[in-house]
Symmetry: C2
Amino acid sequence: MILLDGKKTSAEIKEEIALQVAELVRKDKKKPHLAAVIVGSDGASLTYVNAKVKACERVGFESTLIRLPKETTEEELLNEIEILNVDNDIDGFIVQLPLPDHIDEQKILMAVDPDKDVDGFHPTNVGKMALNLPTFISATPFGILELLERYKIETSGKDVVVIGRSHIVGAPMSILLSQKRTVGNATVTLTHSRTKNLAEVTKKADIIVAAIGIPEFLKADMVKDDVVVIDVGITRIADSSRKNGFRLVGDVAFNEVSEKASYITPVPGGVGPMTIAMLLKNTLLANSRKE
Amino acid sequence: MILLDGKKTSAEIKEEIALQVAELVRKDKKKPHLAAVIVGSDGASLTYVNAKVKACERVGFESTLIRLPKETTEEELLNEIEILNVDNDIDGFIVQLPLPDHIDEQKILMAVDPDKDVDGFHPTNVGKMALNLPTFISATPFGILELLERYKIETSGKDVVVIGRSHIVGAPMSILLSQKRTVGNATVTLTHSRTKNLAEVTKKADIIVAAIGIPEFLKADMVKDDVVVIDVGITRIADSSRKNGFRLVGDVAFNEVSEKASYITPVPGGVGPMTIAMLLKNTLLANSRKE
């Protein structure tokens, strides 16, 4: 069994990006500039967004963090987005989710200029992704493609089962892996809560992407030998034996499934670390598109 | 075996639309207005576009057919599209495909105002479809959803196999049928030229959508008893016994598959006639959105 090491791979990608930024600087070109907007001060969201800003600094990007109070109105947030849309120095920006309940998330995502939408959440970018046109692929699916590619895992003609049909992971993953692309050409089955006899479906899969959000959902008796397992889930489980009082668990029963798998992502340290690297990659792309 | 009669169903839909138009007229409201642009005078394309215009007239829509010479430049066509985009009287319009080789089809489709894109080909509308947001679903997938709904064919929890991953039919069909929607919630497998052991996959399907463009590709030994079969293919096969010298053949070997199927679309008279009805439905929607 080989671990698909997202931490190591993401560090490699960041190094490659840092080299490309250094090259831009050497040529007196503009550095990529990512802005992040966060409304309110939810602990987890703030941690995520700070990690993104820090990652920018490490690879030599410019970054701007815009913190707005949780009372910010939808209109005020839309104004902020419009300012970022027209600011030529900003190559890409993200609005950290979730937003407070009084703000319509979809309306906000629709207001972001698709050319600066490095999260790839705008319908125009989702549509381009579905049409296999150049675009910003959102961080988690993009990270999974990259992991599969860097570990040279063959997908063409393979039976892939995606568990979970979220708009952020499951659905785009199923679309991407079935397309004509380097990591693609797979026969993909998208499964979800209404799927009958799920274990029968997963047992035939060469590659499984678990993105259902239920801790240790995928057990060893649901997979065949030598399966490749991508675990997107990450849930905090109370654990009094740990200093911080919890441990992070994926959608896969790692201990038992890893005994049958040929490749598997650990949780944490698998898909998670890839997402920030892919956000940086999209920002670099946004910057280079302007030339 | 029950025939999924697209001709009859499409006539019913057109009648419903005609009643809605009559109601608009009674209330002194604006009638829906569809424009169609055709470049060159390819016989088949002209037949299609004329059928669309005629269908508009029959349900009481306004319609405008814009015929441009085949020498029309990309820029001239883009100008024409811009005129239609800003013309308040036009609710929706289509650009008949294929376009001459010297015109970039994707560029043209991207220029259509998404709010008037009743063909549902613009990336923004494809993205909205993929995100399960209100939008114009393109005619063929929309027509298949409508046929399944009107014949009360249960899709929830069913195993659906889509054959063919085109952007126009196969890919959107696989996305739509797996979503949370009235006709949806299915476990969908999208198959294509790289799929291994296709017959094994199709043999487990409760519902098959064949959209691969190979005449009589799906044989009886590839399906299980009581399967529901949607045949999207339509190919002209030389046939000297026919007066016009050809017959139309679908992607399904109808004679043998129909003996095992519970429901099946004929070719012609199945999916084909539904497409114009759905185009009208999208135009009606475009008109109503403005109120």
